[in-house]
Amino acid sequence: MKTKQLLLITSLTTALCSASSLADEGMLRDGKIGYVMTDLFWSVYQTEDASQECPRGFNDGPREQFEELFPYHEGLSVEETQLKQEIETWHPSTEPDGFEFLEVEGELSWGLNLDGEVGPNDFRHPDGTPGIDNEVYRAVGCVIGFRGPDGVEYIFQNKAIVDERYNRMMIELSGVESLDNDDAVTVTVYRGMDRLLTDATGSKVMPGGTQRVDRRWGESLIREVNARIVEGKLITEPMTDMVIPWQNLRVPSIQLIRDARLVLDLTETNATGLLAGYADVDTWYYQLIRNDSTHHLSNGQISGISLYKALRRLADAYPDSETGDNTAISTALDIKMTQVFITHPKPLGGD
């Protein structure tokens, strides 16, 4: 009996020592550290009561517009009313719809100076930095559904990241000598395959989880980019075209961000900051309406019909070679990531 007790104590001691040495080793191992995305949403600079950015209030949604368009709809057919609006939602145009669209009127915005220039249409960062390019914010900043803390897009997008796996985006930093300063590191973007490690509430993501790289359906999403770390801030070069698997309300879709770059404050457990670039307008719009029914759009007073026109009007990059119309719009997304150990299954053989 005593021998058994001694063995038990020895085993426990060994286990505790192992756990301790694991913690001592830290999260940065062999020059690598991984982070998995836990929050991602369009950067929307908000003031209390929205008086600075939306002095004239918020945009109407589908229900409000419907009431204005069809005040006596009882005598009209579904084709003449609801389906007409649905068709315009799914086949939008740039022609005016008769409703004034309320764009952000404030001067401040989160985001980055993407084009390196300071122009009359640029925002100023709250820290004073001029030249901020974020026209998506100008379009959605006065739409209730895109504003925190309870806008319908905001709620569902972040909820889906924890609940689903399709949108499991992560980065792995390699060649890292220090998380404080390092002038040459490599950042690889992967899609993971596993659920997030959370506390008991299921809402708070904990560091120390493990994610397997999706080398099958996620292979085309892998991107590699050079970066540097300056005083704890990771700054990547632009990635030509970053595809973000996006899921909302259980509908899988994507966002396509051109010239995408990450600026993240790093610690051993978290990476927090911005993902910025130029969002492909049509991809952006169809992600929204594929994910959201009119019911959900109505929840956030989001008129797809009006918003599409605004996005096309405010698009500021990647002109179409034939029409000259811009096809992409500057944007920034708030991103939060939590440390994760990334494992690399062998790629599937092509056949």
């Binding site: 209730i144 309870d150 909820k159 509430t201 299921g202 109505s298």
Partner: protein, 444 residues
């Protein structure tokens, strides 16, 4: 005179069938205090559930004070008339661990089954009423009864597990016919004649069981398991037949009602309230007549589509689309729906409290467990999900209290309820919802 047994009947035969002639309910059947039958058999304990949809507006729902004499914020002001009979539980959590937060689903599933579901189709275990019914429901005609005020047969929070849902009664008239139709045996009737149809059914069932038992010896393990499940159902049927062939105990509070008028379909709040009250009255009479001791009443579904006259958004839509009024600090129309739910909760509790039984009421011998699906429905929050209970379970529960759960599992109330109903369980719930901690503040 006190030695007279309530089981004393005049026995004979009629058309070849055994007949017992019962006596009407006499005072001699009860003890001196009216709290039990004279032979010491206690008035049975009953377990009920009640459910409403879409949670609360926390700022005007959660009282500032805990314990006895708590304040009634405006969203629960309708509970003033029943405050002494209920307990309110706030700041209890539902944990999902590695499961997703399934909108309008995870909250009620955890509170009813103790397990966080992995998918919307997934009902990971039996619900609490089913577990309790195994303990309490074997002596009554119906092991449990469920009814909904929505008029929709799909609305039920009672399931055996998986996709085996206990469908509720959704029509007052159908419910009446099921309860008090031709198979009903009035416990207070002076005479009792066994129904020959039941006798035939029982005979046929016995014959089937004999054959099935022989078959069981000839099949493999998997088939034996299937047969065992089948026999369980048969035994339940036989038990019901036995009950129907036995003179039921008299029940003082049992008065057979007149058949109700049926109601049109629809979810207008006034219509739902009317349907709720009719179903409640029928349900409680079924309990008083000892047709069941476990009963589920469903006021509104998790995705409640109840409508408000003059307002274009049903309840669920309103929770998401209506902005929080910056001056009021809550969603006024959404709160209107919750207030209507609280009015019906008050009606339900009052109905139980006013139902005389012995020297007390039905509520004195019952424990009602009331839950919802969300705390703040606008964002699908499930932390701090509110719950109620009503009744003293035969004097074993204190009422009139507001309990602050301090973030502990909401399953504590379900665990407490099951222990009160006599279930010999050491804990209840899965993973972080697992608890072996009763809510001691409410126990006498």
């Amino acid at each position: 005179m006190k030695t007279l047994s309530r089981r004393r009947f005049l026995k004979g035969t009629l058309h070849g069938g055994a007949v017992t002639l019962g006596l009407p309910l006499l005072d001699v059947f009860l003890n001196d205090n009216g709290t039990a039958f004279a032979d010491g058999t206690p008035i049975p304990t009953r377990f009920g559930t009640w459910s409403w949809g879409l949670g609360m507006s926390e700022s005007i729902f959660v009282p500032k004070q805990t314990g006895a004499g708590f304040d009634l914020p405006e969203e629960i002001a309708a509970l003033a008339s029943v405050q002494e009979h209920i307990n309110l539980y706030t700041n209890f959590h539902v944990f999902k661990d590695d499961a997703p937060n399934l909108c309008h689903h995870s909250g009620w599933v955890v509170l009813r089954s103790g397990i966080a579901p992995m998918t919307r189709e997934n009902r990971p275990g039996e619900t609490i009423d089913v577990a309790v019914a195994r303990q309490l429901g074997n002596a009554t005609r119906f092991r449990s009864l469920s009814a909904t005020a929505t008029g929709d047969v799909r609305d039920s929070f009672s399931y055996e597990g998986g996709n085996s849902v206990n469908a509720p009664e959704w029509s007052p008239l159908r419910f009446y016919q099921r309860l008090f139709g031709e198979d009903f045996q009035d416990p207070n009737a002076e005479t009792f004649t066994p129904d020959p149809r039941v006798m035939v059914r029982k005979s046929a069932l016995t014959a089937v069981q004999e054959q099935a038992s022989k078959l069981e010896k000839e099949v493999g393990a998997a088939d034996r398991q299937r047969l065992d499940q089948y026999f369980t159902g048969l035994r339940d049927l036989e038990r019901r037949f036995d009950l129907q062939l036995t003179k039921p105990d008299p029940r003082e509070a049992c008065v057979v009602l007149d058949a109700p008028m049926d109601l049109p379909t629809g979810l207008d709040a006034d219509l739902v309230a009317k349907r709720h009250r009719m179903m409640t009255d029928l349900m409680l009479m079924a309990v008083a007549c000892d047709q069941t001791r476990v009963f589920n009443m469903f006021y509104a579904s998790a995705f409640s589509a109840t409508t408000k006259p003059g307002y274009d958004k049903p309840h669920h839509t309103a929770t998401h689309e209506e902005a929080v009024d910056s001056e009021l600090g809550y969603q006024p129309n959404t709160s209107w729906y919750t207030r209507r739910a609280m009015e019906e909760w008050a009606y339900y509790v009052n109905a139980l409290a006013n139902f005389k039984e012995g020297d007390g009421s039905l509520l004195d011998n019952a424990f009602i467990y009331a839950t919802t699906d969300q705390s703040f429905a606008k964002i699908h929050a499930i932390d701090g999900i509110p719950m109620f209970s009503a009744g003293t379970a035969g004097g074993r529960v204190k009422t009139g209290l507001h309990i602050d759960g301090e973030g502990s599992p909401g399953c504590r109330l379900g665990f407490t309820a099951q222990r009160l109903m006599g279930l010999d369980i050491e804990s209840w719930g899965d993973k972080s919802n697992n608890t072996s901690s009763e809510i001691g503040e409410i126990l006498v």
